[in-house]
Each structure stands twice: as structure tokens, then as C-alpha cells.
Amino acid sequence: MIKNLHNGAASIGFDSPLYFESCASIVSQKEGDGPLGNLFDMICKDPMFGCDTWESAESTLQKEVATLAMNRCSLTPEDVQLMFAGDLLAQTAATSFGSAGIGIPFYGLYGACSTMGESLSLGSLALTAGFGSRVLCTTSSHFASAEKEFRFPLGYGNQRPFSATWTVTGSGACILNTAPPGENSPLRSSGGCAAITGLTAGRVMDYGLKDSMNMGGCMAPAACDTITRNFADFGRTPSDYDAVFTGDLGVIGKKILLDLLGEQNIDLSPIHQDCGILIYDNETQDTHAGGSGCGCSATVLAAYILPKVVSGEWKRILFVPTGALLSKVSFNEGDSIPGIAHAVVIEHVEV
């Protein structure tokens, strides 16, 4: 049987929801000191996570978070049929040496900071197609390994512009299940649970911006495009959502997004939030425009968003991680920085 769940230009509405069975988030001290500090499952004081290099630190972080997500529901790797995971390092090395080492059949992803949206989307598609009953979606980022990969050595004395963001050291993992979570699940309240009911796949949007220190400006058009297509495809307006979370646009990207949507007569300002703005206190933590990285949206989803959807405080939210698709080489060769944003509709479902 061929299922046709396609909805409008780029969206998919699932006829049966994909439930969040478990989730976990681990961050470093800086995120622990931020406004969401007491919500994370674990805060590690050692930025090296007990390792010798930044790369292995990130791998360890990601492996720990995947294990924690499984432990919270007393699952073993054999219980999970597929894993979609990624990170920011070249050839997604942190994932290959990290959660992929656990032994779950694994597809590696690169969607820059949008990877959590990408992994949740592909995980939902795989489950809906019948390829298993459980998938693990994991992403991570580390400030030091990302600086080394994309910018300067940490010890180099330079000035960051105000539009720059601070890569989150953290990792988030979610386990999706075709069946509602059991009583012992951390994502089950007396009222119900959280589930993915639809998604809008992102398109690469390029407005020609070349400033790698202003990722918000590079990604805002992609977020705008995905959000408007989500509204059009599902026939919804901002009032149909309790909140719309972009990944890591930061304060400048947020303003651009709201302006771009305003041009199309969509007022998102009452319900729009940005994970990058939520995770740090930009004034006191010197993070300039906000947080960024695959770990940013993933940890905020696991620590802040999902519990509120599970409790029923929010009935329906749109989770839109945003990514800037540049490489060091493309940047040096003078290419522009295209953005992408993948939207996932997460709803409170009564059980």
C-alpha cells in the first residue's frame, strides 16, 4: 500500500502521531548558568568531558546523552531500530565516534544547526513508513570544537561582532515511538504526552549574504520560508500554534524573521521564541546575539519545550531549527551562506 500523506507544497501530515517516548539533555557549565540552567538533565563542569581533545569531548557528550535518553525509559540499544544523528564537525566526526558507537543502526546527518529538525523529520518518516517502532534522534555541538572547525583557535585574541552567536556546548536526544509512552516514561503526564503530527521540509534559501559572523541574517529567510509554507500547507495561522520556536536565529535573526513575515502580513511576534535567545542571558553571559549550534535547539527542545507540551501547557507548537550551510572552503572562496530550516509540528496528545 502506498500512503500519500503529502500536504501542500512541502509538508507531510501523519495520520497517526509519532510519540516522544524519552528525551535527554546534557550541557556545559555556561549553559547551566543560563536562564534554562535548572531544566537540563545534566550539567558537566568539565568542558573536556574527561577527554583529551575537544572532538572526543563532544563525542563523549553525545554518547552520554543518547545513553541517558535510553536509560530514562529502561531501554537498551537493541530496543531502538534506527538512529538519525549529526553534529557540526567535518564529516560529522563527533557523531561517528559518539552516539553511533552505541551500536544502533545509524544514518549520519549534516544540516548544520538545523540537524535536530532534520533527524526528527527523517525519524518520523521512517517510523510512519513502518521501518521499526523506535528511533533515536541525537545532535550535539561544542563551543571549542566548533570554533576550531569554523573560526579561530580559542587562545587567539580577537573581537567578535555583536551579530556573532555563541556555539552551545550541549547535546540533546529524543526517542520517537509509534506507540504512546508508558507510565514510567519521563514524557508522560497524567494528561497526556507529546507527539509529532506533521512536518514541513526546508528548502535552501540564499539571499546572498556572505557574513559568517551574522548567521541570523543568513538563516532568517529560510525560517520565514518554512514557516509560511507550513501555515499555507496546513491551512493554519499563527493563532493555531501556542508557540513557534526557531533554532538559533539570535536577536538579529529574530528581528529579520519577524520583519520578513510582516511583509507577508503574518504577525508572529506574540508566539515566536528562539532557542538561541532562550538558552543564554546575552547581557550577563557575553554571548552577543545568542546561542547557536546543533546542540542549541536540541537541548532546549528536550529540557524546555517537550515538558511543557507533555504537561499540556502548550497544545501545539512548531519547532523550526535553522542551519547556515557554509563550509570553511565555500566561505573562503567567496560563496554566499545559504540557510535551511526544517519544521516539526509537535502537539499535546491525550492518552
Binding site: G155, Y156, G157, F162, L209, N214, G217
Partner: protein
């Protein structure tokens, strides 16, 4: 997809992006750079008064400033100075030493040859290359002017 006016978008983004205050940054750079130079002068004068000739005293100045910068980089203090002082801490010899030491520290995990060896000059490399090239070009101009007896 809508037709995008890239120039207009770039202009708009530039307009809403806050920037560092240029006069304030220049003042901080002047202050930081000035302090480093003052320290250099102090080292030179001290070495000279202790009996070194002027050429040796200047060598002492360079060597000690580089040493200080490398130590401060190792302790993670130089990035803070750089954040405050901008070009004031970038332009003197200490900034050059910082860029070399920072790369060496960052890439040492990748080994003596492919890590430190290949990547120690990732930031300082262009300065060395184009510094030597411009010195060569100026040397040629100097040589020609001398032949033409414009300068003696």
C-alpha cells in the same frame, strides 16, 4: 521562489545589525597598544641602563614581549586583552606571538608534524608571507632610487 533583491537585503541587514562604537574601540586600542609600547620602551631602557648596547636592548625588548604574550596566551588571558583592545593588542609584536602560540596550543592534539608543524602559522602565515614580500618590493624600490641617485 520570490525574486530577491540581494543588495537591498544586505543593506537592510547591515542597517539593523548593531556594531561596536568606532571611537570607543579606537580609544581602547590606543590605550592597550600604548601600554604595550610603554612596556617595550621600559624593557629597552632598563636593558640599556644595565649595560646592553641599543641593538641588544631592542632585542631584549622583542624577546621579552613575545615571552610575556605566549605566557598570557597559555593562561587564557591574552584573548581577554584582545577582546578589549582590538587592534591595539593585535598590531604589536605581542599580537603576532599570540596568534602563533594560540594555533600551537589548539592544534597540538593533532601531532607534532601535522598539528603544530603544519598549522602553527595558520593565522600568522599571511603576515609573514606578505611582510617579506613587501619588504622585498620596498628593497627593489630603494635599490632603483639609489641607482638613479634620487637618494644617496
Amino acid at each position: 521562489m520570490r525574486n530577491i533583491d540581494e543588495k537591498k537585503y544586505e543593506k537592510y541587514v547591515k542597517q539593523i545589525t548593531p556594531t561596536h562604537s568606532l571611537p570607543l574601540n579606537m580609544l581602547k586600542a590606543f590605550f592597550t597598544g600604548g601600554l604595550i609600547c610603554l612596556l617595550g620602551q621600559f624593557i629597552t631602557d632598563t636593558a640599556h641602563s644595565l649595560g646592553a648596547d641599543l641593538s641588544d636592548a631592542r632585542t631584549w625588548c622583542s624577546v621579552l614581549l613575545i615571552l610575556l604574550s605566549v605566557i598570557l596566551t597559555g593562561f587564557g588571558i591574552y584573548p581577554k586583552i584582545g577582546k578589549f583592545g582590538g587592534a591595539g593588542s593585535l598590531v604589536p609584536i605581542t599580537g603576532f606571538a599570540n596568534s602563533v602560540a594560540a594555533s600551537a596550543i589548539e592544534f597540538r592534539a593533532e601531532g607534532q608534524v601535522f598539528g603544530i608543524g603544519c598549522k602553527i602559522f595558520t593565522i600568522a602565515g599571511p603576515v609573514i608571507l606578505y611582510g617579506i614580500m613587501s619588504a622585498w618590493a620596498l628593497g627593489v624600490i630603494y635599490y632603483i632610487l639609489k641607482i638613479l641617485e634620487v637618494i644617496s
